[in-house]
Symmetry: C2
Subunit: 458 residues, 2 copies
């Protein structure tokens, strides 16, 4: 049986086999988390720019997105939802395939849901399946894929979104094979576009092409029977290193969502800043520290640990998302790091700007073997005050990773922070109701009930 | 200057520099040829299937395609036009980059033209620029790209269509750079989908993503400043073999459209059948041959010359497009090979079916160095009749290639044949008028004049 057919069978795994409590509970939390960052992302100016390129439509088959009364075609809604989910770089990560799994898959499902009445449980099932297909396809190719310059969130996202949509649309086995073949011919996205609006657009494009592949297959468009292996997608997108599905790589045994789980971001900035922030906040809370009397700081990291932290003296919020000094100084000044920390005016405070010059990064000589090893390398923050006090703390587990997961309180605080950004007119009690309804998604008779509440409340 | 910027400058090459008579004459003929095969392709059942997946719309910004009164969004029109252009495998080829250059570029321009009033001359300019960008980007990556399993028509088509649309939309230099960066992150399509509907869908997807990249850049979406080189698109899609634009590779000096020119198909089937058909028709005409008295045939080819000719005993028209025996027997029976030759009933004629068993292919031991060398390898057809007569003829230049180009009569006959298929209710005199108007495209004050005539006449 070809891997395309194996994937198609897997996509229709009976719901009973997806009923392990931990699996569904985690999926629900990831969906709620991604919905939060999507709503926060929707407030970014780039989303308005994208909206200007996309024509709303009043055709019957069009759908709304949770932050707007405008109606869009499903594929266009995917673009908006996917870009919004990823633009703050605040959405979850799976280092198994160096990708953001939830953004493209959830965007496609949210675009499809209004036209595809579905229970919350079915919606969660489709999300679990889509993210699993995405991550395992990435593992099948290996790190060479990312290393060549492909943005795995974009390329794998097309297949993951396709799988999720095929399940939600209840396609036949044959149609599902064709959807995957079309999706394999819709993979795109290069990492060279990192640092531009196109990085987050990738998540939208992946959602859009994945949904389109399912809709085309549903209408009768037929692809090759084995588009992935034997000279197909795996070979092309691994630069010829891989051509077959590794026998050791199983689908759903266990699900990546459950073991090891995804890494959810506690802070809305580059993941390489997270341990610095966490260590600083631990010291700040333990010792009641602030910027008062602060002299300097030293951050000890593994070789390459600061590779993306390219702004020693950030001049705006976007710079600050890639700044080691701001990670220390912002956390010390405010005792928290959230969306407000990355507003331009927060970054430009004179006390912040002057203190950042005193922060240096020291990388040791030991380079990690893989990019993913950065996730397990220790980071130490050393703080020095003018009265000769000094403090040091080391963080090994990435904040938000399975070793240090977001607590329910963390998740709710992130939700409130994100919704206050994306839907500022929403009263707090409705924000909390939406959060609680989201966590009950598994029991909702219709997903649209939850989605409609964003509009009703707004 | 980065190659993205170099390409953006090239895209706005002054029209005077595109005024060499041969360049514009050839471009016009390629446009007319591609319009013909697009209209013939539109009659294929797969196009109706695609149409069922796409919702027509009556919004003001929607456009028609030449064979239908329905209105579609520009991106959807691209899908329909691109798939129609490529589905018969009757559209032109450039072996410089092993791609079909006209299908994705023209599809994008045809979708854009109704909303972008433009002279015929400007339309031709955009087509020349788009195909040049497409082919040179493919050359920059080298054959490794195709060899890895990418369908170059799809992947390069996204960039070519983006370039053509950027010019037609008169984007700024900066917007054009962003359009190319977005297009570089929209490249997709694997060869494993050859032999399925997805092969031709690739041309539509490339047109659609190229047009979208230009529209998004126009609205203000910004990509990276150097998406192609230095760890970008060239590296990813060449499997790491290439990372920089070769210094020897110039844009438009000369234009590929002019030197060596494109290869236009004389017969609506696999290009590897063309020399077989040509040799058989030469013998048929020279000696007044038919199937009467025919005993057997032997076809001598280079090693690999029949690699795609996988149907020794075709049972329908699609099979017959990849059949060496049908190339000989069909040509002998009818004295011509055209669209009617690949109708199922033509293939299933008892005399044809029984004669095909007597045709064998002999490949010699000399393998060509590159896939493109198949284009220059000789093919000999040997015919043996029951009365001991025998005939042999060798063809070296591919029919329709620059060494044996389509004559004006060939082109007009192909046009008539294609339009009779795609627009069967069109009177012959209007068919001929449309042909002549197409050849005068360079002088038309508005491209839409020509495009509207298809509707008026139909």
């Amino acid at each position: 049986m070809s891997i395309t057919q194996t994937l198609a069978e897997f996509i229709f795994t009976p719901s009973e086999q997806l009923a392990a409590p931990d699996l569904r509970t985690r999926a629900t939390r990831y969906i709620v988390d991604t919905m939060a960052v999507t709503l926060a992302g929707a407030a970014e100016p780039a989303l308005q720019t994208l909206g200007q390129a996309i024509h709303p439509s009043n055709d019957a088959h069009c759908v709304t997105v949770p932050w707007s009364a405008q109606r869009y075609r499903e594929e266009d809604a995917c673009l908006l939802l996917g870009m919004a989910a990823h633009i703050l770089d605040y959405d979850d990560v799976s280092m198994l395939a160096v990708c953001h799994p939830s953004a493209p898959v959830l965007a496609a499902l949210l675009a499809l849901a209004p036209n595809t009445p579905t229970t919350g449980a079915d919606f969660i099932d489709a999300y679990i399946i889509g993210t699993e297909v995405m991550i395992r396809c990435g593992q099948a190719m290996g790190f060479r894929h990312y290393d060549l310059g492909f943005h795995a969130t974009a390329t794998l996202g097309s297949l993951g979104a396709s799988a999720a949509c095929a399940r939600l649309l209840k396609l036949s086995h044959t149609q599902t094979c064709h959807a995957l073949s079309i999706a394999a011919s819709s993979s795109s996205g290069v990492r060279k576009n990192f640092g531009s609006m196109v990085k987050s657009l990738h998540a939208g494009q992946a959602a859009s092409s994945g949904l389109r592949s399912a809709r085309l297959a549903q209408a009768g468009i037929q692809g090759a029977s084995e588009a992935l292996e034997d000279g197909g997608w795996l070979k092309a997108f691994s630069g010829g290193i891989t051509d077959y599905w590794p026998a050791s790589l199983a689908l759903g045994q266990p699900f990546a969502i459950s073991d090891p789980g995804f890494e959810q971001k506690r802070y809305p900035c580059c993941y390489l800043m997270h341990k610095i922030i966490q260590a600083t906040l631990v010291l700040q809370r333990q010792h009641g520290l602030s910027l008062e009397g602060f002299e300097r700081a030293q951050i000890d990291m593994c070789k390459g640990g600061s590779i993306a932290l390219i702004h020693p003296q950030p001049r705006n919020g976007l710079n600050a998302k890639f700044s080691a000094p701001y990670a220390v100084v912002g956390a010390l000044a405010d005792g928290r790091v959230d969306l407000a920390s990355f507003q331009d005016d927060a970054v430009l405070r004179p006390a912040i700007q002057s203190a950042m010059g005193g922060v240096c990064v020291i990388e040791d000589d030991v380079a990690p073997d893989h990019g993913s090893d950065l996730g397990s390398a220790a980071v130490t923050v050393n703080l020095f005050y003018r009265d000769a006090r000094s403090y040091a703390h080391t963080i090994t587990a990435s904040p938000g990773s399975p070793a240090d997961p977001l607590t329910s309180t963390d998740l709710q605080n992130k939700w409130r922070d994100c919704l206050a950004r994306g839907l500022p007119s929403l009263p707090t009690d409705i924000t909390d109701t939406l959060f609680n309804t989201g966590l009950q998604l598994d029991t909702l008779p219709n997903t649209s009930t939850w989605l409609a509440e964003f509009h009703d409340g707004n």
